[in-house]
Amino acid sequence: MKIFNVFPETIFSIGPVHITDTVITTWLVMALIITLCYSVTRKLSIKPSFFQEVLEAIFEAMEKTIKDILPLDPWLVVPMLGTLWILIGFSNLAGLIPGLKTPTADLNTTCAFALISFSMTHVVGISTQGLKGYLLHYKEPTWILLPFHLIAEITRTVALAVRLFGNMLSGDMIAIILLGIVGLLVPIPFSLLHIIIGLIQAYIFGILTLVFIAGGMRTKS
């Protein structure tokens, strides 16, 4: 029943460093992303090819989304958010390839991403408003709400990590259980559903991060 194990395993260890299959899969996903991006952006021109057009449309949509939510120059956060979206999205879909495990079905991975989101919120907040200005947003609308702000900082980060993890793990588990019970063809619709859920979860993760960053902005209006 080794093939049905949805949980990460250590593949090899270098001293105290344990390399799990999650990390290896992530490397594969990264290699795929880099290859794709390189092949597309290698020959950009003023007159775009089809792939370039798609890419530009994606980036312009991203730019517009960020501009709607964040009162800042979109290109300040586009690289980080974009990377989050791309990495989570590709990782969520990696489990569809037989023999690979979904990296985001590992709580360690989602925790790492949640930590990145958490630190990104504070880094952007501090770098755009200064440390004092950023900290002042915690007293809004009154000082009484400060403890709740602090609790929310932690809970929402945990929620980010667990939400993604739970969705992905459930998808994988459903597929495996169905495969065990009813055979080869029945899980296919669920796999299609899994694709949609994967993309939606990636989007949600990025958007929530964006909203948290925006929440760190002390808007005067």
């Binding site: 344990h18 952006t41 980036f59 690289p79 991403f113």
Partner: protein, 246 residues
């Protein structure tokens, strides 16, 4: 399922590495190309607008030039018309002047002709009158009239004498031609001769000739002076006097 800090660390590092690489190979070129295109579009639109504006300006200018040219054309036309009018007037004036000159010339010619004819007519008339007068006088004159005239001459010889005495002639003998209409009695001639001789203290040679054309009376010629008391002479004198008066 257990927490593996290494995995978390690896995933964070993975993210950072991917972020760095994608920044290099994805975000930067994409951003550049998008901004380049936007710039190009803005520039193209701006250029198009500029070109349009320029075209409009050019059109306006052209219109202005055209209007100016039309105005100029109108002015030139007007000017040329005025000039033509002026020329015409000038030519007309000249023609008028020329015509007037010709007229004058013609008039002068006509006048001259008229005068010539008038004088001719006058002369003819005078001639005819003199001929008529002479004929008339010829008819009514006779020897008595002739003698009367001669006697009058003899009586009034003072003028002749004073004229002749003014001429200091060395010659002793004075030749006097006496032309008479009718033959005079020798006594009369002699008396006249002697009267003159006594008054001038000179010898006088009198050559008497008869000329019927004198009608009546005598003509005396002394030196180069002529005293004509004949009727023909009177008529001629009158005719010439009339001829001179205009």
């Amino acid at each position: 399922m257990k927490f593996n800090l290494w995995t978390i660390l690896f995933q964070v590092i993975n993210f950072v590495i991917l972020l760095y690489i994608l920044k290099r190979i994805l975000y930067k070129p994409i951003r550049e190309i998008i901004e380049k295109r936007r710039g190009l579009i803005a520039k193209t639109v701006g250029d198009a607008e500029k070109t349009k504006k320029e075209a409009l300006e050019l059109k306006e200018n052209n219109q202005k030039e055209l209007n100016k040219a039309k105005e100029l054309q109108g002015q030139m036309l007007e000017q040329s018309r005025e000039e033509a009018l002026k020329d015409r007037n000038k030519l007309l004036d000249e023609a008028h002047k020329e015509a007037a000159k010709i007229n004058e010339k013609e008039k002068a010619l006509i006048d001259a002709e008229k005068m010539r004819i008038e004088s001719e007519l006058k002369n003819k008339t005078l001639e005819m009158v003199s001929v008529f007068a002479s004929n008339l006088l010829k008819d009514i004159s006779d020897e008595e009239l002739h003698k009367a005239i001669f006697r009058k001459l003899v009586k009034e010889n003072g003028k002749i004498v004073s004229d002749i005495s003014k001429i200091k002639e060395k010659e002793e003998i004075l030749n006097i031609d006496l032309v008479t209409a009718y033959p005079l009695p020798m006594d009369d001639v002699k008396t006249f001769k002697e009267t003159l001789e006594s008054q001038l203290a000179k010898k006088i040679k009198m050559n008497t000739t008869v000329d019927k054309t004198l009608i009546a009376g005598v003509r005396i010629k002394a030196y180069d002076m002529i005293y004509d008391s004949s009727l023909a002479g009177q008529i001629n004198a009158l005719a010439s006097q009339l001829k001179e008066t205009r």
